[in-house]
Symmetry: C2
Subunit: 404 residues, 2 copies
Amino acid sequence: MNWKLAARAEKMNPSVLREILKVTERPGIISLAGGLPSPKAFPINAFAEACAEVLHKDGQAALQYGASEGYTPLREAVAAMLPWPVDPAQVLITTGSQQGLDLVAKVLLDPGSRVLVETPTYLGALQAFSPMEPEPVSVASDNEGVVVDDMVAKAQDARFIYLLPNFQNPTGRTMTEERRAAVSAAAAKAGLPIVEDNPYGELWFDSAPALPLTARNPDGCIYLGSFSKVLAPGLRLGFMVAPKAIFPKLLQAKQAADLHSPSFNQRMVHEVMKDGFLSRHVPTIRALYKRQCEAMVAALQREMKGLSVEFVKPAGGMFLWVRLPEGIDTVALLPKAVERGVAFVPGAPFYAGQGDPRTLRLSFVTASVDEIDTAIAALAEVVREQLAHHMAAEVQRQLAASPA
Amino acid sequence: MNWKLAARAEKMNPSVLREILKVTERPGIISLAGGLPSPKAFPINAFAEACAEVLHKDGQAALQYGASEGYTPLREAVAAMLPWPVDPAQVLITTGSQQGLDLVAKVLLDPGSRVLVETPTYLGALQAFSPMEPEPVSVASDNEGVVVDDMVAKAQDARFIYLLPNFQNPTGRTMTEERRAAVSAAAAKAGLPIVEDNPYGELWFDSAPALPLTARNPDGCIYLGSFSKVLAPGLRLGFMVAPKAIFPKLLQAKQAADLHSPSFNQRMVHEVMKDGFLSRHVPTIRALYKRQCEAMVAALQREMKGLSVEFVKPAGGMFLWVRLPEGIDTVALLPKAVERGVAFVPGAPFYAGQGDPRTLRLSFVTASVDEIDTAIAALAEVVREQLAHHMAAEVQRQLAASPA
């Protein structure tokens, strides 16, 4: 049978993360790899009550087809909870914020279109953009976010820049107020649209991050949000806020993609959020993740002592980004770590361009404090071993290269 | 701000159906337009029990991220319920079967790729394929389905033919056993892959339709199924069965599109379907729809008497396709019908090529028997009026054209 693949499908490669996550499902492995929110934080009872209430009160509508835009009361609730004036007519409910990335790509990217991304950036965004065959361009980034001069230098003909300013996946870094102001002004001046992804913004530890980029220039930005981290990912609900100029196109792409997101789930989430539930629930998640993050930072400081390991303590979110000493390749390190019962994600796949082989991403939210301690100790042991191998090989190489 | 649209987005037009459905939401309108299953048939109590059970028994997993392939027990249940040997590893759970069409398009269609469709075909499929910018080619079709010779004549370089053999949307027609055998053999001989869409197959009135095309040549077909018509559309769950040769590409496209379909909904549906629920529930839907279809057929025969109106009585499904007398354009007719309190969908948008302006689609599943009677009577009245106008205009035209 002549199954001829589209050119974009020929280029698709199995996701590195996917294959890794399969390995980490083996029993006995402590996974610091996945971006899975802690199931301890899922409000199961609140959902059970909401399900019963929605089916009792509004069962027929909850089980019927709905509008592609989403359930109106949920769109209104989203608009009301955002920290700048948002018309509910600009809110599109999506099947997770991952779908928002798919729709943005369909509406804004032609083959070869330049799309600017951070260094490194969210791997799922690269995957979502990839079927539209754009050319991702890596913009230099430091601990405060994307570097403005490099962004401006690369802005010409770019369709947009994709930014994740709060507790970024994978680096955990947060864009400072000063950097936001500068990025927003420079992007507006260059006519460069911003796609702002904010799945983790509510997961701050000590103080809320600065105002979103979109709040500073709503007509120049598409904002993506998610219920996955403040409620539960298994409902697959996110949202996007888009300028009126392009909303209709995103809506049409949404309709073609899956008609609409589940009516039932939208009503469940709306029901759960009533009466300020999130303002009581989210602080419990923040406290849990803060505790686990501190445990991981302490474990890294304790176990990696004497190794030149670099990391920045995150101010929120789910991830900690680590750079291991010279000579370590984290892709090669992973199978050794898995043998010792610990999994992580190598950093290289998160780069649009050449990746840094010494980097890796650790999640501090899924494993318990005890598991974190055990896992980081095991990881440090593997790193020391690999380093010893590397140095032995280096000595051998130098001996071999020296005159006989 | 420089929002530059992708070429595919420039071409997107608001869905005709969408705009019509908005009008029909006005109170007092009897809508025969939408493809909404009867909410009377939704098993609300069974869902309420399933929600409670899933959250109680398996709440953390139901609310967590899941595998892109879908929930394993649901994939196994799908494989087991299909009438040919299916390996659960070939089943991909999708966010409604609409998403299956989006994934097929991403994996198999390049800009300009020829994709064969029936005349007329499902509008939602044309919309799902459209972002990949293929060239849809209309294959001649009669009351038994697609015409084999025309399919073969157009098969060269086509990526696939999209077929909806059971109670087709929009025509309600069903492909006969003889036609299926011929289509299957001819497609295999021509090396033409088939994408078989079967959302309505279970909704037969008197006897089940013939075996799916996919059952006859599993390696040459992708099969799309849905839970929307046998359970409820508001959960947005469908599935696809794909040959092992292309399954990995579809899976990658799925992961990029929305990571996975809602874990919670997949468990709910699996829970509801246990213990043979569908074999008790679906017969009640069949009986309801059969009764309403018969009422609509009787109303059409009664009210349209003397008009040369053509339609074929469906053997199942949700839709009845009507061809009105010469001189009627159903797009122009619609606003007049809405004024009289009845809505339908004009047939023209369902054609990949030139549409037949005399056709329209009626749904017999959402409105009650009384509403169907009222609506068809009103529709007949509007048709008679339009016909009178048309004939008066025709007489005027002939008088004006005759020698003075």
